[in-house]
Amino acid sequence: MALDYSQKVMDHFINPRNVGEIANADGIGEAGNPKCGDIMKIYLKVNPDTNIIEDVKFKTFGCASAIASSSMATEMIKGRTVEEAWNLTNSAVAEALDGLPPIKMHCSVLAEEAIHEALNDYRAKHGMEIIPIEHHED
């Protein structure tokens, strides 16, 4: 089944931004499972004085749209505060990629969830309140 990806998706898939890990990351989050064919892992470096995300890296196992969603989502939260980053929705990620095929929308959800997990990891370490993560279908 041939999938028609937007040029943005292909760009972020061929040349993904922010790939890698951060040693001694301030927050690490993971979402997905190998059975479904997608796992996303997000690493955050946060300035404790300003709560600004100074660096973010990802590692993803999954299809092209999962890699592109991770790449785009990391771009969108870099330089933001942890509060601002929390408000990044999966539909905003998909929109920034000029859309994803309907069957691939879950890839953007995975990006949102992995970021939420990483932010909660940071919040827990810094005595901030843990926010319940909404798991949604799309």
């Binding site: 089944m1 993904p16 479904c36 796992i39 590692k59 890699i67 069957i103």
Partner: protein, 397 residues
Amino acid sequence: MFVYMDHTATTPTSPEVLKAMMPYFGENFGNPSSVYSFSRKSRSAVEKARTQVAQALNADSSEIFFTSSGTEADNWALKGTLDKARLTGKNHLITTQIEHHAILHTAEYLHKFEGVDVTYLPVDSEGFVNPDDVKAAITDKTALVSIMFANNEVGTIQPIKEIGAICRERKIPFHTDAVQGAAHLDIDVKAMNIDMLSMSAHKMYGPKGVGALFLRKGMRPENFMHGGAQEHKHRASTENIAGIVGFGEAMEILKTRLNEDKAINSARRDKLIAGILDKIPDAKLNGAVCGDKRLPNNINFSFIGVEGETLLLDLDARGISASTGSACSSESLDPSHVLLALGLKHEMAHGSLRFTIGRLTTDEQIDYVLEVLPEIVARRRAMSPLWEDYLKSKGEN
């Protein structure tokens, strides 16, 4: 470089075949069923093709029935046989877990709408059906055994002759989907105890949209297409003359070069397999290990840590067309039922990659794939958390 390595999906119609077809679009457009002499050319063209196909299988030309596709031949064999058998109280179908959807979805239909009991035989880790399992599954209600000749994803060739002998002894009709098998292997329907066999022209350098069902004398599944009296009253609808002519021509050409093609393809296949095993760590070959029991053109691997669709797109960017059993390239989210039936874990099934070589393949292309693929796999693995976990667990053991 344009490297087409998806010959199992389809093949280009060869120039000789196309040339033989052309007159039947234009000057010889007559309907074979018409009485006047002009239509005789169309009629004899169909009969010539029937003989060409029959000879390739060691069948009689009266045993070949043209259809619109391999899918239609499969539907006809299963539905037509079960429809008739159910009148005598037989409602059991035996098939396998690794069939093409043309068989699997037909079996599901028969179960859902006609109450047919279906046994889906398992396969071993290389994709082989055990003939003893066929024997054990047969009951006095069994109406048909349908087992594919060779698998389209992993290339495993089944012990057809042995299974055919079991069915013959128990007097149960035996059908085989040889859409892939007939495109690469010598098939003798008599020696192999085959009662019904499906084929498709576009897998063997013929046109798309034409296939055939071989029905051994005495095999009369209920018609699938009802209507006119074409194909000796067994398959209605005005014949696709040009397509049928192309199929006959393609089959005859295939037969004349079969052994040569087999030798060239297997040598290239083995070189590609050996090269991948050599250059890519933790690459797992899927399907039959022994070359004689694997389609000469099939190469199927799983690369732990990488997902198949990403490999396809990376290869496509380098001009290489391949295929995957990953869910990400399908409409469902489940990976290939064939790879799961072979016992692959989901993540390995998601990471599968299939190259199917053929007449468009050259030695240079094999070298090119071996140059490009290791880089691609390494780069995608480097960004995969699953690969990282895998390396850690390997280190611990």
